[in-house]
């Protein structure tokens, strides 16, 4: 007797309070954003990313020297193992051709961000379309739909079965050496990840009661997919996109390191700089440390934000 009545009473009071407090209603997205703002991890991640983006935008304008001019080429002798480290004139020292490393780092940020963002976008967009189609067919297409879904997913499985770096290397090898190649190669590797994620999420949502309710209301299939299933399946994909940015930057660096990146070594990019530095690692380790630390901090920023978003968007933590 008592417990039921009490719950009821408390509930009514709570409802009353809720009614007075918010009459506009808070969507799940807005609530997730509010939770995100409370997370330290998210703040740190966002700050790091913001700095990185600012750097990418203004880098070339604030760089003290030209990133390509071999101004101090008479001071470094790679053959004899003579390098110039950090000094008042050049904060990060010089590279093996006598270029200012600090300027190269600043300018290189743009290329690095571009590679990460474009590669992730390629993977996200193509993966989203493939996964979305498979998910839509699997949930609402009946028997034929499930067959279409199987065919699509076997294709995705094949892509997933290949080691990602190997796949990227072969794509880069086929398409030739260029920055675009690196972006496409890294992006293609991400496709199956996004496709599977979205499809799986859609399958889980597809059997939810509210989808059944929409069906029984007589809502058209396309609208069920677009306005019911997809919006509820997005969370894991958004999180994955953030995390993928970090991976993409690292993979792009790896491809550049293998010599498949931009054929023009003059244009600075952190991955390429890392590659070039390895030959002189014995005598000038700092030449490799700067771009490496840059990549690590950036990737960490994206990872932190991604993890915080995963927590903020998790419906189980709602409340």
């Amino acid at each position: 007797m008592s417990v039921a009545t009490k719950t009821d009473k408390i509930q009514r009071l709570a409802e009353l309070a809720a009614t007075k407090e918010t009459s506009t209603g808070a969507s799940l997205w807005r609530e997730a954003f509010r939770r995100l703002k409370r997370s330290k991890m998210a703040i740190i991640g966002a700050v790091v990313i913001a700095l990185f983006v600012v750097l990418a935008i203004v880098g070339p304008y604030v760089a003290p020297y030209s990133p390509t001019a071999q101004t101090w080429r008479n001071e470094v002798f790679p053959n004899r193992g003579e390098f110039v480290g950090a000094r008042g004139e050049n904060w990060f020292g010089l590279d093996h051709l006598g270029r200012d490393l600090f300027s190269r780092m600043l300018v290189g940020a743009r290329q690095t961000l571009l590679v990460g963002v474009v590669a992730t976008l390629i993977g996200l967009i193509i993966g989203f379309v493939i996964g979305g189609l498979a998910g839509a067919f699997a949930t609402l297409g009946g028997d034929t739909g499930r067959r279409v879904d199987s065919v699509i997913m076997r294709f995705i499985d094949i892509m997933l079965a290949m080691p990602s770096l190997l796949l990227a290397v072969s794509i880069a090898a086929v398409m030739g050496q260029s920055l675009t190649t690196v972006m496409i190669a890294v992006g293609v590797v991400q496709i199956p990840v996004f496709a599977r994620l979205l499809r799986g999420s859609m399958l889980a949502q597809g059997s939810a009661d509210y989808v059944l309710a929409a069906k029984s209301l007589g809502v058209r299939k396309r609208r069920i997919v677009l306005s019911q299933i997809v919006p509820n399946s997005l969370s894991p994909v958004i999180v994955q996109a953030t995390l993928s940015l970090a991976t993409a930057i690292i993979e792009a660096a790896a491809l550049s390191y293998l010599g498949l990146g931009n054929p023009d070594p003059a244009i600075p990019e952190w991955g390429v700089m890392l590659t070039q530095a390895q030959r002189f690692f014995d005598n000038a380790p700092m030449m490799a440390v700067y771009p490496a630390v840059g990549i690590i901090i950036t990737a960490l920023g994206f990872t932190l934000l991604g993890e915080a978003m995963r927590e903020a968007l998790d419906p189980k933590l709602r409340g």
Binding site: M1, K9, L13, A14, E15, L16, S216, G218, P315
Partner: protein
Amino acid sequence: MSLLELDGVKVHFPIKKGLLFDRTVGHVYAVDGISLKVEAGQTYGLVGESGCGKTTLGRSVLRLVDITEGSVVLDGTDLAKLPGEEMRRFRRRLQMVFQDPLGSLNPRQNIESILSEGMVAHGIGKDQEERREKIKSILDKVGLPSNALSRYPHEFSGGQRQRIGIARALVLEPDVIICDEPVSALDVSVQAQVINLLEELQEELGLTYVVIAHDLAVVRHISDTIGVMYLGSLVEEAPSDALYAEPKHPYTKALMSAVPVPDPEVEDQRERILLIGDLPSPANPPSGCRFHTRCPWAQAERCSTERPELRDVGGGHRVACHYAEEIAAGTLARTTGEVVPATREGVEDAPVSEELAAATVPEQAGPPEQESTKAEKAETAEKAEKAEKAEAVVEAAEQAEKAASAETPDEAAEQPEPEAAEAPEPEAEQPEKADKAV
């Protein structure tokens, strides 16, 4: 001519196996030949234990699952044969209220958007303005404030969410509403409110209901006719009062005997039929009468070979049992099963459908009897739930305090005093806070 007629409806789900190519290795006979008629303006109650196919039957009426065989005729149109687009348009006349109030509402849509969805799909209302007016009038009917429009499902309580679910069905002005366990996910006290709402709406709008439930008290309260399902088929169908007064099928008898009587003297002398064994798998149903494996009156030959049809035994009472008359007259001896005093200890652990035994309560004038087993069960379940909720509740009560100090709500003031003594640990301080608020 009845408004809704089901004739020999079968829903069989194929069981598929195979590495590359799926082979059908068998079927789950979820619904296996059900015929029934629902009259306009009436309520048809479907009861049965979990897994007996009552939800599948409800969904098949709306073609949310494919009908393997048989026909579902609504007002002269056979839904089972309607092609896709025509069926979609026909859904307007046939709506559903779901069991899980939260799960059946899209968490990312606000109430206005949820309620407009159906109208948009059927081209009702010229523009959003017109639709909003209609939604407001429906919200008023189901007892929700119109400021609910811009809010989201997670901001409502269970009872309110179910009201939204009912409103969603109502905006399309359907003839028939299928209620699939409309109150089983709600608190006992809220159950009565929702049931009453359903009844009021029926009176006002002349709705026809098919109510699916496992709670015998709920079904009795709301139904005009009741059908009892066992393993995919109807075993008994009768007007509500007749069924409760004199159940004729052995399965129904066993179900009814699991209901405690609120009079202790009657309860002490009452006998209870305990069924033996588990519910057989619907993938491999018994031959002959589906119930013969557990029937206390099962006869050697006929019951296991010949499947009994539903036959009228007078007064619109239909029974699917070869020996209904003999059992009623007491001329047939029990062959198996156990009859025990209802008050024997440990009876609750008996293998009779647990869900039914637990959720069964005799009908009361108002909200269901609190002292009965149901309330006890509900209490234990709630305690577990409470522990989780406790934190949220504290927060909510603090908000309530603020709100109430500004403006004392009359309604809340009339609530009975909560008893703190029985409250579970994390909740103990809670009612006091709530009191202060009032």
